[in-house]
Amino acid sequence: MIELSSDIEQPVIEVDDLVMYYGNRKILNDVSMQVRNGEIMVIMGGSGSGKSTLLRQLMVLERPHAGTVKILDRDVGRMSPQELYDLRKRLGVAFQGGALFSSMSVGENIMLPLQEHTQLDPATMQIMTRLKLELVNLAGFEHLMPSELSGGMIKRAAVARAIIMDPKILYMDEPSAGLDPVVSSSLDELILRLRDAMGMTIVVVTHELESTFKIADRVTVLDKGEILFIGTVEELRNHSNERIQNLLHRRSDDEMHDPDAYLKRLTGMEINGDATL
């Protein structure tokens, strides 16, 4: 029991003083955070806050310009290609648009990591593929092409592909984006099931508040490339920081500080103080 507890507290992702530039523009400024073993960490932030850039760092698609990113206790900046290859087999990623290969069927998409990284016989691979499809409620759809799936089905198929190798860490980029509330809610349920049933550490980038409140163990809020908040959902809700409250109530900073200027920007018209909407 003690061992289990310490294992849960153990960080599987450690980001220290991460700095990233695109050209001369600083996208991430001294970002530091940890993701603990077996938790669902939601990364939130407005557009341009740097959350997608942070996710690309965590997926090891880019190397830091300064600072360190440690995943499963290994510094990704110092990894050899072979070490990186080994690490990637332990990570799963479900991209925002699914990123399913359009020339392959759903089943072939999901089976691809098994074909490339294991020596399993085709029959076993097919059984594993069907199991994962069942887990994401897509059983029987393996013969369809990605173009024949709905948005929600594409996202679930992408999750099935991401978990086919039973990864230690699963990254999900905007899993609810563009989905209706019912499908979005079923995806949230799926994320919770993956954590509970498979013990995965899950990092979700989203701007959907409802989804965040439902699934997050902890939340990281990014603003203008800096960490604004890290904590539980309850702590987030009760936080007094104005920017966090703006984010939670979907208000822009302009709206808070200068309503007239905000309305002028929206309407292109001069609004006097007495004007009402």
Partner: protein, 272 residues
Amino acid sequence: MEAPNATGSIVKAFDKLGRAVVSLVEEMGHGGILLWQCLYWFFAGPRLGQPVRLRLIMSQMMEIGVSALPIVIIMAATIGVMQAIQGIYALGLFGAESRVGIGIDLATVREFGPLITAILVAGRSGSALAARIGTMTINQEIDALNVMGINPVRYLVAPALLAMLIMVPALSLLSMYVGLLSAGLYVQADLGISLAAYTKEAMDILSVDDLMHGLSKSVIFAVLIALIGVINGASVTGGAEGVGRVTTRSVVQSISAIVFTDMVFAFIVTRI
């Protein structure tokens, strides 16, 4: 008032030229790196447990070679007949039309067979490769390959390159044969020279060197088509419109590179 404008225009023109040269050198460097990485995966892949998959090579060979058979045969036959028509006309000006075989045989094997085949493959498969890689880049499929630990060069580029290296010379060989045959049939119909006599003359004229000249060029063309397609596809920006742009660019660059390389190759081999 005019002088500063003129100076400004000259500076702009040089600026544009300089950027184009830098971009060209950059793309050539990128091509060299891609070629090196493909060779690395061909030879080191099996040892690392990440081989270039045979099924992907076969699939590309079907797409690049087998699917192109009808158009290559039709174009080769048409060009063979066209050469015969023009050759008979030109030589007929000084009564030497019976010697038309010499020109047709050498031109088809050394020049037209590989050139026409390469242009067709660039238009069909080079553009398809650019569009495929471009679309995959935009849809994050390349990122997906990377995060799954599947190197995109090993998975996408190396099979296409190897398939090109096998199928472009094979199609060129077919194109030479079909071109010579169609020209022979036309010569038989027009001049009454039998196909057997025409074939014997071709066998006497053509040497292994001529065949190797044509096939060596087709190997270089294969590398150019594959690398230009991949480089353009990987550089895509701006969604579906961007894919269209890089696809067109890939065809134009491939054909230009093929024709230019053909000229340089012919000069080096025949003059130096």
